[in-house]
Subunit: 344 residues, 2 copies
């Protein structure tokens, strides 16, 4: 078994560990954030961690009503701008905690008056040293170049923070995530069968929206880095503003369609893609969309949209890892990549 | 000649008209913004207008030091979140001014205490009626489905606003843009020759960074909607965090490489792509990168990075329009698209 697949299977245990070990620290930090009058949250990250930040962008804004911005690191590192970040919380997200650009943004933000938080897998990293507070992912060492357990661990950190900021009502839902992650792992046999069909796929589009928009980016990056597929990523709304013109007969489109606020729009898009003759692969618990898909990846439980991203990315992670193998590639050795990428 | 190409050629006149007709109104608005203590700028848009907003995101943050966020419309339209937008300036960008989701965000933002601004081509649009202030693009009717003159008009609106917020020193630079746009239009003969080579290109990647990152998205959307090419878009830094694994011998990569803060990074990336045997098409004034490219699109003047995006997108617009024709497609009639896309 590849390291990537092995680490995908570790996810329920990582999530469980985070709830147990970090829950209290996160709740305490949330209290301090509420006492300061935080007016802006800024997230800064790269790669898969940036995809997790995209989830945080939606979840924190929806949960708290505080505006959230995704930082543009170049503004700090290349254009050397000093931003007014009084009353801001700046959150860096990094598996290794060693991205020089991300750490520069955190340092600048601290000097500009922001409270800073690190979400990282490495307690002794530079990022953990710079930030005022650190939430640890506790995923153990991630040996696969393609991040999986640290991505869902980062989502969990955002879940715990949002639940704490929002009052404890959401904790009960979040505590179900290790069990829901296990259920998703049970989809492996159906995915093993389905990937055969895509052994020669050159390109595709991945679409989703809202809380699952981050998963669109994450699935696409996994297909790019482990399968070398040209995988485009769009929100269903952005997709309709131009890119849908690409779609012709048999063009493969992957859709995240959990029940909830984004469901009606995803169902409409699926109908439009079906009319265009596209090949559709739908990740959902809902028969209303699964039965219209060329291939269905059926999530075994109907999950509240708010906690759907972790159980919904797991079949996509398995799809990428198993498809890489079906294409004769090792998902653990993507060409041109190292585990820690240093950009400025 | 296609409508798209005709409208591409109208751009110097549109830019000139904007400076003359909107300059004073924009300067006055900037004064009022400075008097309020604006703590956050939020931009909201879709499609090509969203690409223009991505330019605004960098330019305004760099010019003013006020944090900028790109809105996630779903937070308002689907999740119905009430954000705390006191002391915020919320800017809607839309050619038609009739995007229901964009207008919902503007209405919500006004109710949440924000000052609102519309950047649109339609003086009588819903958006112009909702917003506290309107900057008009004055591009005349845009008949091509693929936006060109309204995109650069929107960039010009951000230039004028940033210059006004930043003191008048930058105005002299911005006033050169109509002339620089004309110079770029002179690249047409070399582009007519080069597009032949890409008549059968299925997919490609477009890369750039910082102030030209918006052009990456805009060039890619033009290739998708007029040529049906699967065109991925990345900042040079994000590209190194995973997607570069896709690149193999002859994989086409388009690079924006203006002189300035992003140049060294783009030059390094070009070197790496050359080693991987990629096909590189470089848009730049600088021989240091042009001579290493498979094909060079030489910008005829060395332009300060701050005002480079308009003169740099023009060859890309011509490339998409001429390539569509070389592929036997009409750039004016992209399949599956209408001029005004209404999403919620």
């Amino acid at each position: 078994m590849s390291l990537m697949l092995a680490e995908i299977h570790e996810q329920p245990a990582v999530l469980e560990r985070m709830i147990r070990s970090e829950g209290r620290r996160i709740a305490r930090f949330a209290e301090s954030i509420k006492q300061r009058r935080t007016r802006l949250i800024v997230l800064v990250a790269r790669g898969s961690s940036d995809n997790a930040a995209l989830f945080g962008r939606y979840l924190l804004e929806i949960s708290t009503g505080i505006p959230v911005s995704l930082a543009a690191p170049a503004v700090h590192t290349l254009y050397r701008t000093k931003l007014d970040l009084r009353d801001a919380l700046v959150i860096g997200v990094s598996q290794s905690g060693e991205g020089p650009d991300i750490n520069t943004v955190l340092e600048n933000s601290r000097r500009s008056g922001a409270t800073t938080l690190a979400i990282t897998n490495e307690a002794r990293s530079t990022m953990a040293r710079i930030a005022d507070e650190t939430f640890l992912i506790r995923a153990g060492r991630e040996r696969s170049v393609a991040a999986t357990k640290t991505y869902t661990g980062q989502l969990m950190a955002f879940h715990l923070l949002a639940a704490a900021l929002n009052g404890s009502r959401r904790f009960a839902e979040v505590e179900r995530l290790p069990e829901l992650a296990s259920l998703s792992l049970g989809m492996r046999p159906q995915i093993e069968t389905i990937v055969e069909r895509y052994a020669f796929m050159d390109h595709c589009v991945v679409v989703g929206r809202g809380l699952n928009y981050a998963n669109v980016y994450e699935f696409a990056i996994k297909l790019m880095e482990t399968c070398y597929i040209v995988a485009e990523r769009f929100s269903s709304a952005d997709f309709l503003h131009g890119p849908i013109a690409m779609i012709e007969r048999d063009f493969p489109v992957f859709l995240f369609a959990p029940p909830g606020k984004t469901f009606a729009g995803m169902k409409d898009l699926l109908g439009r893609l079906t009319k265009l003759g596209a090949e559709t692969v739908v990740i959902s618990s809902e028969n209303a969309v699964l039965k219209a898909a060329t291939r269905a990846l059926k999530i075994p439980a109907s999950i509240s949209e708010m906690i759907s991203p972790i159980p919904y990315i797991i079949p996509a992670q398995m799809f990428a890892a198993l498809l890489a193998e079906a294409r004769g590639l090792s998902p653990d050795q993507p060409r041109s990549l190292a585990k820690v990428t240093r950009t400025v």
